[in-house]
């Protein structure tokens, strides 16, 4: 995992950094203002990425035991507490919370996100949320691998200047290959780890959503009424809704409404991923979430009203949305990631010493070529987001 780059150290460190010049956050080597990559360790200085869930070190919540074998407490047998049970990550302009919920023993959701080119002319955020398929074995392996793989690829592709739809399509296909490769480790291939994926690339004036399964991307406009869902679920109910036959509340009453039609993993239907782009009319938030959230609040306007334009900070807003799902019963794992559009910190008066590393400001990313021929086949969904 790439470390936090030069300008990711937090406000407290800003003054110190400014005093001795920019340093690489991964290895603390000094970097030059014109460097895109750290000369010492190769870290990408223009990418700030949320770290993964990490390793557990907590005592058993039931008996206080501190030794675990096979993932269970040696005293009381309880499932070892996992850092995945609830993890929160905050990159200021993107933040996320992933929570086990109240009715599942493990958090099989995963999230990954990064911000690219902060302070440059072409800033972007990439967000991925994946939901492990519960009927598969070790679904959390699939979801985290898919999320990490997609963010890796998206960051590299966008840094190369590839257009977001092409990058997103390629990233989902790469995740499909990575997750399918896991199946070799499982005797029962049909039940090998599988997951859904929903991803968003947020650029200035353009949001690109890509997905497989029933995790969602929403546009939450500053004016809640202008909000909309950018994805259509790959479920029986999702197809009915997309076809306009029934409304959401009605469609999801059917017994098998939630059965997903597409996923990442072995035996996945070999269709290209859905990719759709959307031009937001102004500032707002992009929400990428698992069904553990939207099962409780599915209407974009309602979600936007709850998010209150992220005025309390995105991390607090994610926590508040998660709390709504928990209060509603927390039947499933809940993962909520919010990214600001436009993808940079809103202008606010800041002392010059707290500005993030000057180096980045002088760099220019190559622009995304308008109308450039896609390098991989991209399947654009019919119709626009509604």
């Amino acid at each position: 995992m790439s470390g936090e780059p030069a300008h990711g150290g937090g406000r407290e460190q800003g003054a110190a950094q400014a005093a001795r010049g920019p340093v690489c956050a991964a290895c603390a080597a000094s970097v030059q203002p014109e460097d895109g990559y750290c000369e010492a360790c190769g870290a990408d200085l223009l990418v700030r990425r949320a770290p993964g869930p990490g390793e557990a070190a907590a005592p058993c919540p039931d008996c206080g035991g501190t030794s675990f074998t096979d993932g269970y407490c040696d005293q009381c047998g309880r499932l070892a507490p996992s850092p995945r049970d609830r993890w929160e990550r905050d990159l200021h302009i993107v933040a996320g919370v992933s929570d086990r919920g109240l009715r599942h023993s493990r958090n099989e959701d995963a999230m990954a996100f990064a911000v690219i080119g902060e302070g440059t002319e072409f800033p972007a955020s990439v967000v991925v949320v994946c939901d492990g398929v519960s009927s598969s074995v070790d679904p959390q392996r699939a979801s985290q691998l898919a999320a990490d793989t997609m963010v890796d690829l998206l960051v590299r592709a966008l840094r190369r200047g590839e257009p977001a739809p092409v990058a997103l399509s390629a990233a989902i296909e790469a995740a499909q290959q990575a997750v399918t490769a896991l199946a070799d480790e499982y005797p029962d291939r049909a039940n090998a780890p599988s997951c859904t994926a929903a991803a968003a690339v947020v650029e200035r004036g353009r949001i690109t959503a890509g997905w497989v399964g029933d995790s969602r991307v929403y546009w939450l406009a500053a004016d809640p009424a202008a909000s909309c869902r950018l994805t259509d679920d790959d479920t029986w109910a999702g197809q009915l809704i997309a076809g306009g036959a029934v409304d959401e509340a009605e469609a999801y009453k059917a017994p098998h409404a939630h059965a997903i039609l597409r996923w990442l993993g072995p035996d996945a239907p070999p269709e290209p991923p859905h990719v759709r782009h959307f031009a937001p009319g102004g500032p707002g938030l992009v929400l990428v979430c698992s069904d553990g959230l939207w099962n409780y609040v599915w209407d974009a306007t309602d979600l936007a009203a709850l998010a209150r334009d992220g005025r309390d900070g995105l991390a607090a807003t994610c926590a508040a949305l998660t709390a709504v799902a928990l209060d509603g019963g927390g039947q499933d794992n809940i993962t909520t990631v919010l990214a600001r559009h436009p993808p940079y910190t809103p202008a606010e008066p800041e002392p010059e010493t707290e500005r993030e590393v000057e180096a980045a400001q002088t760099l220019r990313l190559p622009p995304a070529p308008e109308g450039a021929a896609p390098r991989t086949t991209v399947h654009y969904d019919e119709g626009s987001a509604s």
């Binding site: 040696d74 047998g77 309880r78 499932l79 039947q331």
Partner: protein, 435 residues
């Protein structure tokens, strides 16, 4: 001491780990498959054959002759170099070969000498099986590194001692050697041999026709010679606050091991499984754990197979996890695992037969009809054809689906004893209906 030639063990757990809120009973079938070691001759073995020489073996005299032939067949089947002895059993245990209390390595001359001694065996005297077992135990002293196996053949009731004497002798021999028991004729007591075989982790069967004895003895010796690792234990760890409700071997036959637990740690205990060759056995483990709430997950038991090496150090041969996951989804928690359901039925089948035969013996024909009817139903549903066939010699089956039967007016002792001894034989999942 390292034991590089231990066979490969595979442990698989079959269960429905999902429980409804508040439930605390976890059932699982633990299937253990041993692939066998590099070669059968890799392991050391020791063999004792105990032959009933009480006076009744002369009535009819074909019994004694069959016993001699069977013992000779067994002697031939012992692997070259394996130490062995032959014991004559009456109201005492007496050495047949060699003449003093020790084991002699099998080779051409020792086999010939043993067979010559066997040919001179003559019946006479009473029956006190505890004496035979005690002699066998003394003979195995000094052979603790070997896989120790005994065969016990009798034709009559253990009448010259009290059941307590026998019980004490069995207890002293538990873990010292395994013992396969055979009853010849119909004057022996199934419960007595079942008790010995149960304690000493061997098989029990009836040899109604003496001519079949030689083949049976040869097969038992070959089975013993094929064992690659002695004294394997099923070790169960279960969490604080839990209780092991039962541990049963359920395939190839039902053997209740619950009472055989030896505590090995505050939360772990060992159940003896004896020696293993290339074979597969199934165990039904039932654990009561603290009831959980929806969203909780617990390890209800860790089942491992351990072998003790020469220094008494336990070596793990493989393990499986029995889990409990509490869910609010009734579709998950109400599903019965197929293996668990199957073996629950097979264990009930064995109980129904034994209870039915007991009731029949006591003149309680209503109970006998009900229990044997249930047995017919269970045997048919699970595809246990051998048991179905044996049952049909004791009852007239009117409808195997509902278990409607009528007791036969006349049943041969041999048929009744065959059903009784073989009642614990099970079939594996997959035979019969796929329910």
């Amino acid at each position: 001491m390292s034991t590089p030639d231990l066979p490969q063990f595979k442990v698989a757990v079959y269960q429905n780990e999902f429980l409804p809120e508040g439930a605390g009973e976890v059932n699982a079938i633990v299937t253990v498959t041993s692939s066998g070691a590099a070669g059968p001759s890799a392991a050391r073995a020791a063999q004792v054959i105990m032959v009933d020489c009480s006076g009744s073996m002369d009535y009819p005299s074909t019994k004694m002759e069959a016993a001699r032939q069977a013992t000779n067949a067994a002697i031939d089947a012992i692997r070259e170099g394996v130490p062995f002895a032959v014991v004559a059993g009456t109201h005492v245990g007496r050495m047949v070969f060699p003449s003093t209390e020790y084991l002699v390595a099998a080779d051409a001359s020792s086999r010939a000498a043993a067979k010559a001694a066997v040919s001179r065996l003559t019946p006479g005297g009473g029956t006190a099986i505890s004496q035979w077992l005690a002699l066998a135990d003394r003979l195995f002293t000094g052979h603790e590194q070997a896989i120790r196996h005994a065969i016990l053949l009798t034709d009559g009731k253990d009448e010259h001692e009290s059941p307590d004497d026998l019980g004490r002798a069995i207890a002293r021999c538990e873990g010292r050697f395994t013992c396969d028991c055979r009853g010849i004729g119909t004057d022996w007591v199934v419960a007595e041999l079942r008790r010995i075989a149960g304690g000493l982790l061997g098989t029990v069967d009836i040899v109604a026709d003496p001519s079949g004895l030689a083949g049976d003895f040869r097969a038992m010796i070959e089975g013993a010679m094929g064992k690659a690792v002695a004294d394997v234990r099923l070790r169960l760890w279960s969490p604080q606050g839990s209780t092991i409700k039962f541990v049963k071997q359920v395939a190839p036959s039902v053997v209740d091991l619950t009472g055989r637990r030896v505590q090995t740690g505050p939360l772990a205990g060992d159940y003896p499984t004896g020696a293993w060759g290339a074979e597969s056995r199934d165990y039904h483990v039932c654990v009561a754990v603290r009831p959980g709430s929806v969203g909780d997950e617990m390890l209800a038991a860790r089942a491992s197979l351990v072998a003790l090496d020469g220094s008494g150090q336990a070596q793990s041969l493989g393990q499986g996890l029995v889990r409990a996951v509490w869910t609010g989804d009734a579709a998950l928690s109400t599903k019965m695992n197929r293996q668990v359901a199957h073996y629950t039925g097979q264990a009930e089948l064995a109980d129904a037969i034994q209870e039915g035969l007991e009731a029949r013996k006591n003149g309680d024909y209503d109970t006998a009809t009900a229990r044997l009817g249930r047995a017919v139903q269970l045997a048919a549903a699970s595809g246990n054809e051998d048991t179905t066939r044996l049952l049909a010699r004791v009852v007239d089956v009117q409808d195997p689906v509902t278990g409607t039967v009528r007791l036969k007016a006349r049943v041969s002792d041999a048929d009744e004893m065959a059903l009784d001894t073989r009642s614990s034989k099970t079939v594996r999942v997959g035979k019969g209906n796929q329910g």
